[in-house]
Subunit: 155 residues, 2 copies
DNA sequence: CTTACGCGGATAGTTGACATCCGTGATTGA
DNA sequence: TCAATCACGGATGTCAACTATCCGCGTAAG
C-alpha cells in the first residue's frame, strides 16, 4: 500500500485541528517527510475534494468539509485510487476448456469472494472519520503541547 | 495485488476435483498462463503446506488437505505473504513535535483503524473454502465437460 | 539407465511507487 | 507596482517488486 496514505491521513488530522490554511512546507516539516512528494499526495486530496487550497503568499490547505464528515476511506481512496486491489484477468476463458465470453457475463466465484472481502475492508474504513482520529490524538496530547502545535502551524 | 493469487486459487480449485497429481505443465496449459512463472506460485503453495508435491516421472501437485479445510485466505497469504498491506512508518516520531519512542509503545489510532480493516478483509476470505468455489464451478459446468476435464488432467 | 518432473538459484524486462526539479499562475504584503 | 510566497502540473530520475525465463540438480517411475 502506498506510503502516501499514511501521510495523507495524518495531514487531515492536523488540518482538522488547525484554524487556518497550512502550507505543504509546514505539513512536511511537521511529519518529517519529503515536501515535494507530500505535495503530490495533497494534490490528490485536492482533486478528490477533501481539502481546498488557497494560493498565494499565505496559501495552504484546509479541510473542505467538517472533520466528522470525512471518512478514512475517502482519504485512502483519494490517494490509492478506487480500483479494486484484486484484478480479474479472466483466465477461465483461456486454455483448452476455456469458457466462451458469453458464459462469463457474470463474475465467477473467485472474483465474487475477493470483491466481498474488499467491500468488508472498505466498510470498516468508512466507519471511522478524521474527527474520531483527531479526538484520539487530542486525548493523548497534553494541553501546552496542543497550544504550541497550533501556534507553530500558523507562524 | 499479485496476479499469481488468481492463478493459485484456480489451481487449487482444479486440484480439488482431480483424482491424482497434476503437473505444473498441465495446470499452466489449462489456464493459459506461463508455465515457468506459475511454477513459482505453486512452490509458494508447497512451502505454505497447502499442496504437496510428488517428484519424479509422473509427479505433480496434490492438495495436502481436504478442499473444505483450505480457506481462500490461506492461498492468498501463501502467495502474497502475511505482512499487512498498510505499513506504519512511525512518522509521529518525526518533526519538531515528534513523540518519543516511549510514548509509542502502543499503536496509534491510524494504525489501529487500518489494522481493523485488514482484519475484516481476512475474516471475509477465511469464510470461504476451496470446496465452496469448486462446488460453484461444478454447478455451472455440464457433466460431459467435467468428465473430459478429469480425463485431460490425467493423460 | 532413461525420462519426466519439481526445486531452487540466477537473470532480465517491465511496471509502479517514490522522490525531485522547474515553469506557471495566483495572491499577499511592501 | 513589484517582489516574495505558495499551489499546481509536467517532466524526469531512482529503485524495489512483480513478471517471466532459463538451467542445473535431485528424484522417482518405467
Ligand atoms: S474464474 Fe473468476 S477470478 Fe478466475 S478469471 Fe474468471 S472471473 Fe476472474
Ligand atoms: S500515528 Fe499511527 S500510523 Fe502514524 S506513524 Fe504513528 S503509529 Fe504509524
Amino acid at each position: 500500500m502506498n506510503a502516501g496514505v499514511e501521510w495523507a491521513i495524518h495531514c487531515c488530522v492536523v488540518l482538522s485541528s488547525a484554524d487556518g490554511p497550512v502550507s505543504a512546507q509546514r505539513l512536511a516539516e511537521f511529519h518529517g517527510v519529503s515536501r515535494t512528494y507530500l505535495a503530490k499526495s495533497l494534490q490528490s486530496l485536492s482533486r478528490a475534494g477533501i481539502v481546498e487550497t488557497t494560493e498565494g503568499r499565505v496559501g495552504g490547505y484546509v479541510l473542505s468539509r467538517p472533520a466528522d464528515e470525512v471518512s478514512v476511506l475517502a482519504v485512502v481512496q483519494a490517494i490509492e485510487g478506487r480500483e479494486a486491489a484484486f484484478r480479474c484477468t479472466e483466465i477461465r476463458q483461456n486454455g483448452p476448456f476455456g469458457a466462451s465470453p458469453e458464459e462469463c457475463v457474470r463474475p465467477c466465484g473467485v472474483a465474487t469472494v475477493m470483491a466481498a472481502a474488499e467491500r468488508a475492508w472498505r466498510a470498516s474504513l468508512r466507519e471511522v472519520t478524521i474527527a474520531d482520529l483527531a479526538g484520539q490524538v487530542a486525548a493523548e496530547t497534553d494541553e501546552p503541547t496542543q497550544v504550541a502545535v497550533g501556534r507553530w502551524l500558523r507562524p
